[in-house]
Symmetry: C2
């Protein structure tokens, strides 16, 4: 039920002596103060339990060819306070319903010399603050170009931060944990190689930025509703520990083309002394517009396998032939080309995956490398790289469509664009129509390599406009989108729930590119996942990649149980069992968890969490009494403990616990695990030792009948 109470306050500032506006969160723990500093510079402060979290910080924007810009000389002409309290139902999610409750302060400012107005709107939730700039339609502020947004976040201390280098093109980095003051020194080391990367400052980092103060306060800076604007990075003033927004430029260095009426995205600061509040916060979604898709029954969570990992590891290839130096679509004759013998997306192999999916209850099979053009697919600034509709000679679209259908399995389409965005847009309608005509309703898209047109980056306004265009057009075709290498999500999926996933961070593939830090997955939910789910593609059972490809010496820095846990800890409506079928066959008992785990939830409870160290979460499957618990552990071995108090009282459940063996270690002994079944009630106390880079996964079901409980111990 929606309760909307509006309290309007009119402050008439005849003499400009009323400066401070205050906003309190619903539970009173957070306070935001807005005021105009000397020279009419807008400023805000964020206070948690009476202590500054964000010290007085300036707001404003620098405009091109505008000496005044929107930086100062403002006066408050109006303020309006209101409260909002509503509950909405997402199409998919960690929880069944989401409460949207905030107190809002709308401040209208007038710049005296230029007589133009902006509005800064603040929404204070229990878990944090969101605010944005709004530019009402007016003669004196019509078209304008942003040279830089100058939103500050003045930190109250030299916090510990979990950061990745500021980069206009990728977020595929391991996180560095350091003091803010150490960021610039450690940047060089943090900047591992990537196919497309563009740094801007050794003091630059990306959002969302997770921090912890010395006195145990968790702070996160991010943005929400990034639409038709440039993506925000943060640049640190090391001396004063002030972060300032740093937008992604276009090829002329401009940072935003605006036409009033318009708004900036929301800038968010989440604060809590409990790390779990950060993980469970729905601020980012709540700041986005409600769902714009009228009919959403075609949007469905997906558990899938795929012809993918064998290419990522180098065991097979996306390309069909090695015969030519390069290929030109429409000119190269693939039918007569000599196959390289390693092309994985062939009829027989795809059918093998379809069979596997059908046997084990997976919804779909992703196939990469099915379409012509992979022979020289990146690094060449190639424009007409793919056409998204023409298969290789050994991939029969209709035959596989029909075969999959006969097995009750869907195929997931793959649209690698190689960053050639114009080429993708030219083919988009044809490509989407082809999908519908051939039984595909979900597509994984990719933007590997430099964006074409030259001069644009993955995170510039121009390219963000493209991602949005592809999502909205997909919705018209009733197509779900999982966009890799695109901009990190910022809650857009509330408005367009057909955006069921993104990568936009360092995913499982990097375990095959040399490995990721073993605690990587204890950081991601605090950073990348705050804006939307990640297609992390977990479920790797064979950690020694040289066993798939002798030339690849990578090691997956995770125990097998840590991999199982990811299906719970890395929330996503799209979950892949990424390994090869034969590896699942080898560990069929552990694989059972992946088969059982749900991908959509009625409830989620974050049990314990510390960024970089561990996360434990319990989730209740949608429309069911089943629970799934997952723990991922960082580099320090530890014992994780909790009570099953989220279960229904007076009921017995069977818990199947997949845990690290006592000698497990992500590096030296990753595949050592134990499986045990116990009976649990809502009083049961659980305790489990976790290996370095380890974890555990638990599936909890109601017994079908009393006989199921026979022989099982009760966990007290």
């Amino acid at each position: 039920m929606k309760k909307y109470i509006a309290i309007t306050c009119m402050w008439l500032l005849m003499f400009g002596f009323v400066h401070a506006q205050e906003l309190t969160s619903p539970n009173g723990k957070l306070v935001m103060k807005f005021s105009l500093q000397n020279g009419g510079v807008p400023s805000y402060t964020l206070i948690y339990k009476q202590k500054d979290v964000v010290k007085p910080s300036k707001l404003g924007l620098e405009l091109k060819n505008d000496s005044k810009s929107l930086l100062g000389d403002f006066e408050i002409v109006n303020t309006k306070s209101s409260t909002f309290d509503d509950t909405w139902t997402p199409v998919w999610g960690e929880v069944k319903t989401i409460r949207n409750n905030y107190n809002e302060l709308e401040v209208t400012l007038n710049q005296k010399e230029t007589n133009r107005q902006i509005i800064i709107r603040f929404r204070l939730f229990n878990e944090g603050l969101g605010f944005r700039y709004e530019f009402p339609t007016q003669k004196n502020l019509n078209y304008f170009i942003i040279k830089e947004e100058r939103t500050q976040f003045a930190m109250a201390g030299n916090h510990t931060a979990f950061w990745i280098p500021g980069d206009y093109d990728t977020q595929e980095y391991d996180f560095t944990k350091s003091k803010l003051s150490e960021i610039s020194t450690l940047q060089a080391n943090a900047r591992s190689a990537n196919l497309a990367q563009t740094f801007f400052a050794t003091t630059g980092v990306q959002t969302s930025l997770m921090m912890k103060s010395d006195d145990g306060l968790y702070i996160n800076i991010h943005e929400a509703a990034l639409i038709n604007y440039s993506c925000m990075h943060l640049n640190l003033d090391e001396k004063n520990l002030i972060f300032e927004s740093w937008l992604t430029p276009d090829s002329h260095g401009e940072k935003g083309y605006m036409q009033s009426p318009c708004t900036s995205p929301w800038r968010t600061v989440m604060v809590s002394d409990d790390a779990r509040d950060i993980l469970s916060s729905k601020i980012t979604y709540n700041l986005n517009e409600p769902c714009k898709i009228a009919e959403t029954s075609w949007i469905k969570p997906v558990k899938y396998v795929g012809v993918w990992w064998e290419m990522i590891t180098g065991k097979s290839s996306w390309a069909y032939t090695d015969q030519y130096p390069s290929v030109q679509l429409g000119i190269t004759d693939f039918k007569s080309a000599k196959p390289n013998g390693k092309h994985a997306a062939n009829n027989a192999n795809v059918k093998k995956y379809i069979d596997f999916a059908a046997k084990h209850g997976f919804d779909a099979v992703l196939v990469e490398g099915w379409n012509i053009g992979w022979e020289d697919w990146f690094g060449n600034f190639k424009d007409y790289v793919f056409d998204f509709v023409t298969p290789y000679p050994d991939f029969n679209v209709q035959e596989l469509r029909d075969y999959a259908k006969s097995k009750g399995v869907k195929l997931i389409m793959h649209h690698e664009t190689s960053g050639a965005v114009r080429n993708y847009e030219r083919h988009l309608d044809t490509a989407y129509a082809f999908m519908k005509n051939n039984g595909y309703d979900a597509v994984k898209s990719g933007y590997v390599g430099n964006i074409l047109p030259i001069g644009e980056n993955h995170y510039s306004q121009w390219t963000i406009n493209h991602y949005q265009y592809a999502i909205e057009k997909a919705a018209q075709y009733k197509i779900m989108v999982n966009a890799h290498e695109a901009v990190r999500p910022t809650g857009i999926a509330r408005t367009y729930p057909n955006l069921i996933g993104n990568e936009s961070a360092r995913g499982t593939e990097y375990q095959s590119f040399g490995g990721s830090k073993p605690n990587h997955v204890t950081v991601l939910p605090f950073t990348r996942l705050l804006g939307g789910p990640m297609d992390y593609t977990p479920g790797i059972f064979e950690m020694d990649i040289s066993k798939l490809n002798p030339d690849n010496k990578s090691h997956v820095n995770s125990t097998l149980c840590n991999q199982l846990a990811l299906y719970v800890t890395m929330y996503s409506p799209l979950q892949m069992a990424a390994d090869l079928p034969e590896h699942y066959d080898r560990f069929a008992d552990a694989f059972q968890f992946i088969k059982d785990v749900a991908v959509d939830w009625d409830d989620s409870k974050y049990i314990e969490a510390e960024p970089g160290e561990y996360i434990t979460v319990a989730r209740k499957a949608k429309g069911s009494e089943k629970w799934f618990i997952g723990n991922v552990n960082g580099e320090q071995t530890r014992t994780s403990a909790f009570t099953f108090d989220f279960l229904n009282a007076d009921k017995k459940y069977i818990a199947t616990i997949y845990a690290d063996a006592s000698n497990a270690h992500y590096k030296t002994n990753p595949q050592a695990y134990t499986i045990r079944k116990v009976v649990v009630t809502n009083k049961s106390k659980f305790s489990q030792w976790c290996a370095a880079g380890g974890g555990y996964a638990i599936s909890v079901v109601e017994p079908a009948n009393a006989a199921d409980l026979k022989g099982l111990k009760i966990l007290k």
Copy 2:
């Protein structure tokens, strides 16, 4: 009939002592010599009647990240000579059939250190040379980026040139006539203002470049078949009088993204001691691929009027309302907006033009300003500026479509893109389909303002790729295209004859923007028109623009007869009678020529020509015995004289001669003209005084019967 003789010569260069290759034109007057200079640098020389026209000039390309580039260290591995002689029939043109006759030399070069090959292909016609680089598919030259093409044209003297400033975005300049050595000094003056312009050097000029040597030789440098490559400018080494190719860069300064197999466009050098040979040369078309459109009956020359000049002069507006600071498509409510009362594209006004067209036998009516978005249509870097399908409230698409049809008149569509190229491509299919559904089969497109994406220019490879995409897609829809502000044509219309026009030079509108030089139209056929027709939109009868709009003090620097002559001298399959109907009503007798003149031809004879001074041409209407003669005159008054020897022998014709009155002058007395009818035969000698900025137009018809000749004098 096609005669193809291949003579293959294999030169095996064991010791590298055979250096020079020679190629002669079919009539022997032109000789091209190719050789390798010291260091294996390819070089060519062009000789006309035993004198150097192009002194030894280097060939090659500088590549990115390639220290060797393709500049030297070559050896000749093969040469092949051949002859081609064929006749083809254009869909529309100055002549019914075009002979394509050349001698060809194909030179294969191998770069020794890198072991990669390029081919330079030379074709020597009677009127000039064409050559291009070819990059065969090979491992050692696969993907490469051009930093600069280094094709030189070493001039044999300090010629007089007719040039416009080198500019990546526009050709809309008056021509400057000067010595080559004076170009840099005069550049500043030549650089008149334009909405989008990007200069690169005071020694830079554009193609085609027309020159005349001190000893009366006419020389022209241009390019042909500009497809998937960057547009070439010329940069002059003033000291040595060597022009070098200067390609248009992208936002990173790169000049071309190439993938073998591929070619550069053809670079052309036309030479003759007779200026008329330059005008009548078909080299540019002959170097293009044959027509790729299978069925061309839908491609038809068009004579049209339009709702346009009244906006250009400022009398009316494209925009519908002045109510808002700016508009946003899909958000702004035009139906409730207050009309500004000056919107010309309204139902009543369009019907007036349809009636006028029907009454006077015009094929079509162009209407600009019919679709929403004109309120802030340029200068704002606006992406979603037009949707190409939504009309203003006072323009009823269906009503006007039906009205035009009932009058036997077509409407010409208008797609102003404002340079927002991605937006145009996103809407292109919808826009073209809308045209077909509403009876439009021709579109005038425009690219006013800066190209979006930012960093691209009108003449960069990326944007040229777009123009080609729009043309080829239009052909799929059976739509004819007249692209304004696009790259200058380079003979592409042989391959895609649905490209019936471009502007891409300073057109008639500039007479309303302050005026053009009175001899402008005596230069354009030597420069801009060599690559394809120009939609010059002539036919202005009221030279004092303040009579249309008191705030516009421009004066059309042309006599009325010069305007009539343009329908003959400025060849185009698309000809507009651009003025307002009321001005034609006022001079109905002169207007008769415009009504009578053909737009498609079986034959054309250039009678006399001097760049910057005068052009006289006679053309025979397609499928008819009618002839039309036009003369445009420059600043110097003169008497033009010729014999009607192109008429059939032993026949009498009636010639209607529209000529400057004896006191006419483009500035002081432009509307003074005489009309007289005489009888002519193929022995008749014609002589006519021409005013400054004047000229004459003659229509010649066979008499319907002997009575028509009564009372008319015979011109002896």
